[in-house]
Amino acid sequence: MNYYTLLIVAFCCAYNFSLGQSFTYMEDSKKFQANLQSIAQKTTTLKSDFTQIKHLNVLSENIESNGKLYFKSESNLRWEYTAPLDYLIILRKGKVTIKDEGKVSSYDLSGNKTFQKINEMLISSIKGDLLVEQSDYKYEFKESLNSFLVIMLPKEKKVQEFLKSIKIYFLKKDYSVEKVQMMEQSGDYTLIKFKNKKINESISDQTFIIN
């Protein structure tokens, strides 16, 4: 392959990639939602590694954390940071348990509406179930060659001060969540990318208990 052919191939690859990443409004968002809901209902367990990237405009480099997540239906969630810090949060039976530097603390979610909403939001985002409170967010549905994108725009002014939007990217091939991006008004953002996803594999209940 000569130099010019190589250049043309590289250009075509880059063009195809940019096409794959450019999003347009979804033609049939109701069909997408129905498919997503149906898959979310069939998702009983989910294991995944994740990379969390915090972008601050003031910093030249991003802050990266890595970890693992485990989800088991109905609402058991283990969210564990493994690097650069060890931090574990478990949501189970209406309780949140946190392990930080060996210290374990538990909180009952039943008396705290904010925590309840965060709990719902977290689990819904991971499962891909978007039937969360429509009154709190305005939804936009987009798609590219390989992905679906749901943009959630907060309606409450208090939330808007801190959160411009939440973008959830789904892979078209299996409707699984590929990444979640939380945009702040300042342009700073937190991006969580999921990889090595395993859906509906057995997960022991012990995973959601801190010893």
């Binding site: 910093l59 001060e161 300042s186």
Partner: protein, 215 residues
């Protein structure tokens, strides 16, 4: 005449007592201080000169009332400007402050933290750590020996309040005190950067612990 002398002595000892009340107990007494000016010879600021960013694992506790865990990013953005950003482990920004030539600027503060008194405390505490604009200020330098190490105690005024630096070898700051109200302990130096910073208030149960993760 004798009565005058006794009164005079009492008055002097009263002022000495008042002055010593402000000294952190373990540093008292401080004798034979030499007055000089802050300079590169006697003072090395902790976070100055290399424009790097420092990321600390951070816990902020107020007695048993609340505990926030997260990460604190500190960056010198220009000669006299610093940006200090505290975020939760999930990445949400809780506060974003700038310390610099234009004073203290709050770029962002989460509603629960956006209280005048709380912002004032954070401004003072982080201000102690950054110790900006004290070059060329007057300072009293005391030599101390605690039986193991020779230390220097630097007494000076910052924002009209008496502060103390405790310095060990190579002007490394191991303690910073604002009277007896607040103390900062800096340890586990990695080069010129402390790996651990423990900010403890003594009149309120407020404590901030920083552990260096990345720089």
């Amino acid at each position: 005449m004798k009565v005058f002398q006794i009164k005079h002595l009492l008055l002097i000892s009263f002022f000495i007592f008042l002055g010593s009340c402000n000294i952190p107990k373990h540093l008292a007494p401080l004798n034979n201080g030499k007055e000089t000016l802050f300079s590169v010879i006697n003072f090395s600021p902790v976070f100055k000169g290399d424009f790097n960013s420092f990321l600390f694992k951070t816990s902020l506790t107020y007695g048993t009332k609340f505990e926030f865990g997260g990460m604190l990013m500190l960056k010198q953005i220009s000669l006299d400007n610093y940006r200090v950003i505290f975020m939760t482990k999930f990445g949400m920004t809780m506060f974003d402050f700038e310390f610099g030539s234009k004073g203290f600027i709050v770029h962002k503060a989460f509603e629960q933290l956006n209280k005048k008194i709380f912002l004032k405390i954070l401004k003072q505490d982080i201000g102690m750590l950054l110790s900006q604009s004290i070059e060329d200020d007057k300072v009293l330098v005391y030599e101390k020996n605690d039986g193991q190490n020779n230390k220097k105690v630097l007494k000076f005024k910052m924002n009209k309040k008496t502060h103390y630096f405790v310095q060990e070898k190579r002007n490394r700051i191991s303690e910073i005190h604002r009277g007896r109200a607040v103390s900062l302990k800096l340890s586990g130096y990695f080069g010129n950067i402390p790996s651990f910073i423990d900010i403890q208030h003594h009149k309120v149960p407020l404590r901030m612990k920083l552990t260096l993760m990345k720089h």
